[in-house]
Symmetry: D2
Subunit: 379 residues, 4 copies
């Protein structure tokens, strides 16, 4: 039986989710409990590392990730730190010969992403980016339907990711609003998700027109502070996009989508059918079949809401979940990474995929500055 | 008691709707039956004109609209003919001193629209464009909420009008696919509606970025024909738009929106609230109140679906209609025109409004050709 | 060309709706304007009758319905008065040889309804009850699907009609809360609608279990009055029902359905499929096809929302209405009545249908008193 | 730091879910990994027990649950076996002095349930029933709103649990269709969930009217077999119910709800507001505030969809989950049990709660036989 030992780097909110998800995998797939082990954890402070280790139930913890990388009892690292550390960590992990699972967005910019993709390829390591939303059953079903030609020729598409986390102008500055830490704003934080989904179901992007705006241009330096700090990242990013195959579509990204909680949707229109996905119903896909004219319904057509949940091939428990949550999709993404190691095959979503998304975002930013379309080959 | 006598020009599908709507107005508002009279009808053929007159219950009919314009017993004309005749008809009606109610889009292009607006202004006539969707209760409520500041500062907006009437590549050519008759494609036919709504609730547009596509570039000349004819209008039009006040938004227009019947929606996001409108629920508005934190619900917020139907001021029957239909909105639009005559005030939506929409469409077309933003002042 | 002249009795809210609906019919079906004429109107007071006649545009009006009945230029009467006058009016109209269109519920009780049905049958007249909700496209489609066996063997059903018009305990007494005027409470006012729909799509009822409650047992005699009057009708009526064919189902009726506007729904479950109707989407039917396992969707099933609007056979304008409103369904119901006269066939819904609904309501009331099931043959 | 060691009895689908849920708790609440330990597992066969132990990662396994009960290193047992074994297992566990967590429905009938409740009370042990649906955030929020009087006086309620697992008449017999194993049909399997939720949010039931039906009365003994076996449990159960406080409501339970996946909903109507819950949106509650007339919305009311997710007090990760899944609610239910042990307080939902639900089901069955209302005090 294969066994993979993981070193976790970073244990904020998302690190905890990853840890919990690794623990759930054996139950989802009927594996021995010890086939996936979190063998150590690194954070930036000794006390948070110790607390993380207790919660995880592992012996080793450190405030220096390098100590993790030198350990022989660690096969892979999982990087859950802020965006501006990914490049350094990935290069170090690759040098240490560890497989790598890295949170999205992959890097601060396309250049960094390219060098990271190159490093892991050169080292012959398995490297996957956390595009966890790909692993909701309805997204997998959408991809499958498009691949098998159910939609026919694709006419156009639309994607959106809205949150409303920053609508309050009194909300103070944070690292998520600083380009130096995050690399970008809503486009990076939210856009990386929806752009990856569109790329996953529809294929490569060719060029984009972007319109980015910073709606609240300065914020209190701290909660209640009268001193203001400038916001140097976008709050909203609107895109028109051309895919390689010529398909035209539109994408809306905003962290000022008042009223939204996690309003991520996409739609694809084809000459034989259409689909609609909504993150709030991740186990269901809305499907329209333009060929339904000769069905027993006598020529009437309409969107059908199909249960997409059986798409976790091999899942054992629970045997039904109409509402696979956030954690389940993370577990699936991580399981695919682990399986890629066990089966010695290329993981997906790969760093090359992460790089493609990074290029889309770079093209959108440049387009917004220039006021014209920008090709991905120019970034 | 005031009384208005109308001459109807054109009696295809939409002419019939206008006629029925005039007849319903007295019941909606408790007016004498004869306060609004359809006194004559003109079509292009004598037999269709005769049949229209019987159905309407009027004595006069003609296949020459000029005969209608010279009659003293006609106060106003209602123009329900294809787009490429509007300019001629409006100018003739204005010269004849008739008030004018004209179907949308107002004209074939911004130049025509400008000359029509100038002609009616010079003649001191009441002239209104059929922007019937403005008169759904939830649209009126949306405008009212924005006007009174309920949404606070506007962050951004989104609009959409999708139909799927042309997804079948075997559907033959028709006048709706010929630029010489319609002036434009989906952008003109559907876009004129959603752009007018956004303009109505949000105010004037400053500039747009347009991406237009003709998805099926040639079609059979006639049903079943092997001979193909080129399609010279757009099937899909994607817009980014800046309003005069700087607000950035996005608009999607398509007649290839597979699965759509009449999928018209808009959303507006502000720092104090948000709204969502959907044409399939024209009596309801989805409203989000960001100030709801201190309500009895204890700090929880969410979209509320409010009944907007009471917005027909003065309506008498029926006392409830959750689903005001297509015809009801037409009746309301026509009633506002009649009232403008009776009260001697400027009608709304005016020809100037129609012209503004025409400019947005022209800017979108030019932008799509040039691959960059185009200002309305440049068209 | 046939022609029918109608005398309208009663011109409150619903009388006005009927009048407007008659006027719309020629436009919906391309008929001569004068094929349906409202030739006179009777109310209880001369001034309301005069105002009604002006609004309708008819010459004759009276405050004595007998004057209407004796006129030769009237072929049919349309009864829009409170429930406790239906019996007298129907008998008088039958004696005068007029065809009869009567608002629902048909009568104060099953006995009255039976004598009315007998009277019109004996006189050989066309008599129809206003079950206008039958004429929403999705209801017609539901009936059609069940008739053609699309659902297979029927397992069970559910119906509901909720309004919230009486939740405020300070709302004063009105005739709708007096048994002597209405014959019953929510069961009669709202129940007559949903029970008729279930009967229409599923067939005859055999027996029912009813649980009725008066939730607010006394109310101010008038607005603001301190004097209280007892409420002697039900506010809520819950039914279990067995159809003749043995099918078991459930029905919920309430005018204290807090939050409801016109929350009328029904669902039917069969071994091959299921349907769901919602009055707020009267042009759409939700349909589930249990045989869909071998579709191109590869074994996935789900509810499909189909457009049911094409069901108005022969309709000419408008060519699309996703939201056929209250008035449109009235027009259709009235048109079927007129057509039954013109074609000399039995109208549907007939007085016998009205009587069946009356028996269901009577059985529900008796069951609630007795605490056990009551058969329709025992009322 | 407290620590609880659990012995798991039964490791079918639901046993696996419980095991996974225990493992997730430390991550949800920031606890040391070893504070909850699954110390052993018992199934009916040695090889399944061994496989379960490997998956769980525990050393002890057995095919004789008594070996589990005698172990000192086990503080509590978790019973995940079929209904007909609960009584024996609970009594044995109580005799062994173990705290008990038992799957629902608690027992085969009210008599068994009463003796089980008595046994654990007499032994002074913590005993909880798996009413996991109580622990969806929106259900907790519903209870909270009702408790604090947000709905005012309760008018009525409705509950429903529909699945469609048995609509195919070729589906063969199984233990879920045998009264001797399950104690009842849809009423027990699905009804126990929805009845518990209604009891949880609204309080004790007084009496019920039940109408139960077995829609497919015999099924193949095995897949494809021509030999038929009788089905002796209900497929559908319709209830009218009176609560102790007099409130009247209705409940629909069916495993022949064609088209349903997990269609569990409830609604509560009060004079100040209303709520709607839907299991497919377990993190959201639909709330209507009848007092909203004086809000900034200017007198309009409507249902608001509020995010209920913050209701997991103390939850640490993830900080948002709009779609808390099946597993999350199990984890919460189990955590409450563990906390009751640690804090030495009465667990909730208790065995007394399980007994109350059992009585409602017994009264419904008896009512259906007798054709009249049955009081819970008579079962």
């Amino acid at each position: 039986m294969p066994k993979t030992r993981i070193g976790l780097i970073g244990y904020g909110g998302i690190g905890r989710v990853h840890a919990a998800a690794y623990r759930a995998i054996p139950f989802h797939y009927g594996l021995p409990a010890d086939s996936i082990e979190i063998a150590g954890v690194a954070t930036t402070r000794r006390e948070t590392a110790a607390r993380a280790a207790a919660e995880i139930g592992c012996d080793f913890f450190t405030d220096d990730y390098r100590e993790l990388l030198v350990r022989d009892d660690i096969d892979a690292v999982d990087i859950c730190t802020p965006n501006n550390s990914h490049h350094e960590l990935v290069l170090a992990a690759a040098a240490a010969g560890k497989h790598i699972y890295c949170e999205k967005p992959l890097a601060m910019n396309a250049l960094e992403a390219a060098s990271m993709a190159q490093a892991v390829a050169a080292a012959g390591l398995k490297a996957q980016v956390t595009s966890n939303f790909r692993f909701f059953p309805a997204v997998m079903r959408a991809r499958h339907l498009i691949d098998e030609g159910f939609l026919g020729r694709i006419f156009s598409f639309r994607g959106r990711y809205h949150r409303s986390s920053y609508i309050d102008r009194d909300k103070p500055m944070s690292w998520r609003l600083e380009r130096a830490v995050t690399g970008g704003g809503a486009l990076f934080d939210l856009g990386s998700h929806i752009l990856d989904l569109l790329y996953y179901v529809l294929g490569e992007f060719d060029s984009v027109h972007g319109a980015l705006d910073t709606l609240i241009k300065e914020r209190p330096r701290a909660k209640g502070s009268a001193e203001m700090a400038p916001v140097d990242v976008d709050d909203i990013a609107l895109l028109h996009a051309r895919l390689r195959d010529g398909t035209l579509g539109t994408v809306e990204i905003s962290r000022m989508g008042t009223g939204a909680t996690n309003d991520l949707t996409f739609e694809v229109f084809g000459d034989r059918g259409a689909i609609r996905f909504n993150l709030n119903e991740p186990g269901w896909l809305h499907v329209y079949d333009a060929r339904a004219a000769d069905s027993p319904l006598g020529g009437e057509r309409g969107f059908r809401k199909i249960e997409a949940v059986s798409r976790y091939a091999g899942q054992r428990a629970p045997d039904w979940t109409m509402t696979p949550d956030f954690m389940r999709a993370h577990a699936e993404c991580q399981y695919q990474f682990i399986k890629a190691i066990w089966d010695d095959r290329d993981p997906s979503p790969s760093f090359a995929d992460g790089l493609h998304v990074q290029k889309i975002m770079a093209a959108a930013e440049r387009s917004s500055e220039k006021g014209r379309w920008v090709s991905l080959s120019d970034v």
